[in-house]
Symmetry: C2
Subunit: 371 residues, 2 copies
């Protein structure tokens, strides 16, 4: 029954949805509860959100990617503005001379998984049950929309004072770079519309049904929690059933955080945490570059970006974002296979280990576990 | 006969024109000879440039300001690209849904006085004999177009790889700020189209006939130089005849540079030079913020921004831009009254001494000389 998706999100789904986006965020994506607040208000005002199944998007539809861009910690102080996001869409539409037929998320993890739903409700536009990462990544050119040939430009950036900037660079990486420097100037918090694309192209590259997936992830874990079952085990069971084979989702390590190293700069958080297990014999290191990107136990690598690595509080399986990791927390390191679209040679060039400065080839989490 | 303007620029006018723009640049505007090279090529290819007298611009015409934006020293290495400038215009036109009827310069000093002529030749568009500063200033919101109510946005920025950025901020200062940070990211050298405006508005705020003025300035000085007369005296005589009263143009000081202080950062050059006269009794200090902004002899202030302050080589009256000032040069400090449109209370708020961090009220150069 897990795969019968209702494609409808109402207030009762909020906790589950937000929980699921935090699992998929791989430690990044910022505080998911900002998105929850925004969506809660939108659902109260406009009623339930009906999601559009990606397979039902018309070939000739104009699809737009919408979301927040900036430093996730800033959004706690400068609340993401739906006005600004609507402004970015309007600007894109006037530029293209055409209304968008549907809106879609940049990423499945964190705030950006949720903002498009609130905006769709507000603008009365269809919201597609999909995204371009199946997780969270720090940069816009890392979406499957771009990896498989889509153009990020024009990238429209708008801030809450309704300043707008349109960027048309010759490649996605450059567009991302220029956009990022603009957002820094705007106070590290802005809204964006990007990747205008046809429904046909969109369907060939999107990571599908990730909004309802998040809701279902949350449902599995939070139901277990409520029923006093182990939510960690419920998560593993949920993903195993989904993938129909083992080791696609695993608890990679359980232990106490004994060291946290973190450096913020240039719009990135870099760092590492060290975990120690109960008998203090094994040490696990999780390296961080906005998201969790590699897990090592001793000399052995056991998970690598783009596979999803999320730190969960040991008892409750509550996801902890990278900025909230603290000395002394007892945690599980949860690993989850990335969507197949992130595991192709084309994708690994842009989101594989070497793209994050890790000097080794990608190996799938299930292969590392089997070794 | 000085005021009969031919409104035609051909290869024979080049030296005079470039000399004149260097006089009006007040030490800024970068190396004028880059512009000379570009214009020379354009004149060879397309023939003489016919300038449009501003009084003849149609009320309903669409006028665009075009020019380079960036660090003047970079343009020596990365040659300004007419392709990029044409790209910025095309982008603006597609945005406005209308072709520009005429192009005009941002400033009368340096490279930006000359680039629009080359672009107009290339695109076959009328070039107006006018600008928005009557001199050079470092920032886009300092044009009379903006001072008197025009909107800098949309500001289109294009680089030589034809990346384009469109900025729509809520005020000109913000537009300038965002644009500047974008240009820094683009390697401190880019081309811009901005201040789309009607002919009617343009005529009410432009500094008129500054291209032919530059050519006439050059003609006066270079003719004297050729005829072994004193070019400094020829300059003073030229401006006195033009203004029909004395002290609007003066040699404020003659001496040797005995100290050069200079700091580059944040897109600005700040510094000061100290001059000593022959008998070493008087010291003159010229403070620099991209342009020369204040002249003091001892405790006495004798010229203040927005009046034009240009350092000339003593013998030849060759203008020396701020980045080329060196210890030991024998120079004249040449002062020239700013256009009236820069001397109103409205203008002085944006281009007066306090806008450059000088803690005193503006006093006209002729009043300071009379005191």
């Amino acid at each position: 029954m897990l795969f019968r998706r209702s494609l409808r999100i109402d207030a009762g789904d909020l906790d589950e949805l937000v929980y699921g986006t935090a699992i998929l965020a791989s430690g990044g994506g910022g505080d998911p509860y900002i998105g929850q607040l925004i969506l809660k208000q939108a659902l109260q005002k406009y009623g339930p959100a009906k999601l559009l199944d990606p397979v039902r998007v018309h070939d000739k539809a104009l699809v737009l990617v919408v979301g927040a861009i900036g430093a996730s910690t800033i959004f706690l102080e400068r609340f993401p503005s739906l006005d600004a996001l609507a402004g970015a869409v309007t600007e894109m539409e006037s530029r293209l001379g055409r209304k968008a037929d549907a809106l879609v998320a940049a990423e499945a993890g964190g705030l950006n998984a949720i903002l498009p739903i609130a905006l769709g409700l507000r603008l009365g536009r269809p919201i597609i049950d999909a995204d371009g990462m199946g997780r969270a990544f720090p940069e816009g050119h890392m979406m499957t929309y771009g990896i498989y040939g889509g153009r990020m430009a024009p990238l429209i950036i708008a801030d809450d004072k309704l300043n707008t900037v349109v960027i048309e660079a010759d490649d996605n990486y450059k567009t991302e770079q220029l956009g990022r420097s603009m957002v820094e100037r705007m106070g590290n918090s802005a809204m964006a519309a990007t990747y205008p694309m046809t429904g046909k192209f969109f369907k060939s590259v999107a990571i599908r049904n990730t909004i309802t997936l998040s809701r279902d992830i949350g449902r599995a874990a939070l139901t277990a929690r409520r029923e006093k079952r182990d939510p960690n085990a419920a998560l593993i069971k949920f993903f195993s059933a989904m993938h129909k084979r083992p080791r696609f989702a695993e608890t990679l390590f359980t232990g106490k955080i004994v060291d946290v190293l973190s450096k913020t700069g240039g719009g990135f958080v870099r760092g590492a945490i060290t975990l120690e297990n109960e008998d203090r014999r094994d040490h696990c290191i999780v390296e961080i570059q906005n998201e969790n990107i590699i897990v090592r136990i001793g000399q052995r690598t056991i998970a690598l970006v783009p596979d999803i690595i999320t730190i969960l509080e040991h008892e409750t399986a509550e996801p902890i974002t990278t900025e909230n990791l603290q000395y002394g927390q007892r945690v599980n390191v949860f690993g989850l296979a990335a969507p197949e679209l992130l595991r192709t040679p084309k994708a690994l060039k842009i989101v594989g280990p070497r793209a994050f400065g890790i000097d080794c080839d990608y190996q799938p989490i299930e292969a590392l576990a089997a070794a």
